[in-house]
């Protein structure tokens, strides 16, 4: 999977309440509607700044807080193609893979907002085109790549009628 877009930088400990406020999550199952409020408490105009394919980038412990899957879904439906962070909270990480939102754990310190990035997901390689730098990340286990390629665990399940590690 090859991804390309410009970076939007956020800080450390971005919790799920910041990604999508609890007050919206209980109101609707319409993810396109939720996506309009993504990161709203940190940047009220964030949604309007996104070009499809753009990449969200953050520091440590991204997605900490609640188990709300609306968090990765709001990001995915806002047309962000991938999240890079120096570390993720584990429920967010699971939810992202399960809902088909690519996530990569890597050193994000050198990436700035507006940098043009290219990502080779299978290899775990992030290329900062603007800065002409390459960041090597830990590649995802093949099982997770499989789920992402299937488009999330729901589609994976549709295909195999079960959870399958070795397919």
């Amino acid at each position: 999977m090859l991804l390309r877009g410009k970076a939007h930088k956020f800080g450390d400990d971005i919790n799920t309440d910041y990604i999508i406020s609890g007050k919206y999550k209980f109101k609707t199952l319409d993810m396109n509607e939720l996506a309009k409020h993504v990161m709203e408490d940190l940047d009220p105009h964030f949604y309007s700044k996104i070009t499809p394919g753009d990449i969200l980038e953050a520091g440590k412990n991204f997605g900490c807080g609640s188990s709300r899957e609306q968090a990765p879904l709001a990001i995915k439906f806002s047309k962000i193609s991938c999240v890079l962070a120096s570390s993720f909270a584990r429920i967010f990480y699971r939810n992202a893979i399960n809902t088909g939102l690519p996530v990569i754990e890597c050193d994000t310190t050198g990436i700035e907002s507006g940098d043009e990035l290219k990502i080779e997901l299978e290899k775990g390689v992030v290329i900062n085109i603007t800065k002409n730098e390459t960041i090597i990340a830990q590649p995802l286990p093949s099982f997770m790549i499989k789920i992402l390629n299937d488009g999330g665990v729901v589609k994976h399940f549709q295909r195999y009628s079960d959870l399958k590690f070795n397919v």
Binding site: K25, F26, F157
Partner: protein, 415 residues
């Protein structure tokens, strides 16, 4: 090589030798969804078009917005009710209580179990020796459709606690203190084992408070061993046989941390992160507008009793609103039998429906801009209680009750 509690529980469930770091698909003993996560899981479940549903192992709980504050939520609640009825799933409707109180209270979880819940504080049942962890809605859907889930078996951090807690210092102060030390991401991807004579000295109610907040250090679960107190508690609640799990003496830990808590002060987590913890001395006198006692952290009978003892015969400060949500109907009833509810109401408290109450900002007490709230909940993130211009402080029921009388954050050791 010896095994941790986590490695043993996964080995038992996978029927092979499993160690930290292994990626496994494991059968589950129990599966929970609440009204913030189950609706999306129902949608994913339907999209998956499965042939099966693990009905007998599932419970749905309507607690986060209960009773419903608007028609959007009502529609989601109806979706849950209809789905549960059609698929013979146990549903706990409005007023039954908070999911993490109900699952152990109703006997759905016992020691040695592997449990998932679509709610981050599912780690609570570690206090009764179950590996329980929070997941998202899609995981819940997969679990419902297959009775199992994928896991990466976590490494374990052992936390050894020694010493008796001082007068009017409680389990909540202890866990806040640990979070302040270990920080919000200090245990990410790891399980925790809480052990030591401090844990043995605590009631099961108080142990739940500690395991409940393991997630605030990023942990997958917060496990404890079974002792006589646990056995006694289980005799009243457990509905199935169980086999408790102990770690091997030579188990391999990622880290072992030791703390002596005999001199601990009451602790307060300050806005806007749970790990921004200060001893009460440093924030004493901070004026507050609203107090909240309740939640899956501190809405249990023991907590209400502590609050009632402090508030008995007194009046809440005229400029403070005190809201109380018992964690379950059973607790509510017992608190009435003991006269606790009368005491609290006479002191000026508003009792709201057992459930999450204002914890997550859906209804029942959303603060105004600039207001300060002192709460017994487990999270104080910006916007958590429904207003991102409010300030949330977290403390024990004793600190909250005493502060409600004073109108400002107060030290319960001065009672």
């Amino acid at each position: 090589m010896g095994k941790t509690i986590t490695e043993k529980i996964f080995s038992n469930h996978c029927q092979r030798d499993v160690k930290a770091g292994d990626l496994v698909i494991a059968p589950l003993d129990f599966i929970m969804g609440q009204d913030g996560t189950a609706p999306l899981a129902i949608k994913s479940y339907s999209d998956m078009k499965p042939q099966y549903i693990a009905s007998s192992k599932i419970a749905f709980v309507i607690d986060h917005s209960a009773p419903s504050p608007n028609e959007g939520v009502s529609a989601l609640h109806k979706l849950m009710r209809d789905f549960a009825k059609k698929n013979k799933i146990q549903l706990y409707d409005i007023g039954e209580g908070v999911c993490h109180q109900l699952l152990p209270e109703k006997g759905h979880v016992v020691p040695g179990d592997l449990v998932i819940g679509a709610d981050s504080h599912t780690c609570t049942y570690g206090a009764i020796n179950a590996f329980s962890t929070g997941v998202g809605s899609t995981d819940l859907a997969v679990a419902m459709a297959s009775g199992k889930l994928w896991f990466k078996v976590p490494e374990t951090i052992k936390i050894e606690l020694s010493g008796n807690l001082p007068y009017n210092v409680f389990a909540k102060d202890l866990i806040l203190y640990l979070i302040g030390k270990i920080k919000a991401d200090g245990a990410t991807y790891n399980a925790i084992e809480f052990t030591g004579d401090t844990i043995s000295s605590l009631s099961i109610d108080n142990r739940f408070t500690i395991s409940n907040m393991a997630i605030e250090m990023g942990a997958k679960t917060g496990l404890m061993e079974v002792d006589e107190k646990t056995e006694k508690w289980l005799a009243k609640h457990a509905k199935k046989p169980y086999q408790s799990v102990k770690p091997d003496p030579d188990a391999k830990y990622k880290d072992i941390k030791k703390y002596d808590v005999s001199d601990l002060s009451p602790q307060v987590a300050c806005p806007h992160t749970v790990d921004n913890v200060k001893p009460v001395e440093e924030v004493e006198g901070t004026e507050i507008n609203q107090c909240f006692i309740g939640t899956c952290t501190n809405g249990r009978l023991t907590d209400l009793r502590v609050a009632a003892n402090i508030l008995a015969g007194k009046k809440v400060h005229p400029e403070v609103r005190l809201i109380i949500a018992p964690a379950s109907r059973q607790i509510y009833l017992k608190a009435m039998e003991e006269g606790i509810i009368q005491t609290l109401v006479k002191a000026g408290a508003s009792i709201v429906t057992p459930g999450c109450g204002p914890c997550v900002g859906t209804h029942n007490g959303i603060p105004a801009d600039g207001e300060k709230v002192l709460s017994t909940a487990n999270r104080n993130f910006k916007g958590r209680m429904g207003n991102n211009k409010a300030f949330i402080y977290l403390a024990s029921p004793a600190t909250v009750a005493f502060s409600a009388l004073k109108g400002a954050i107060a030290d319960p050791r001065k009672i």
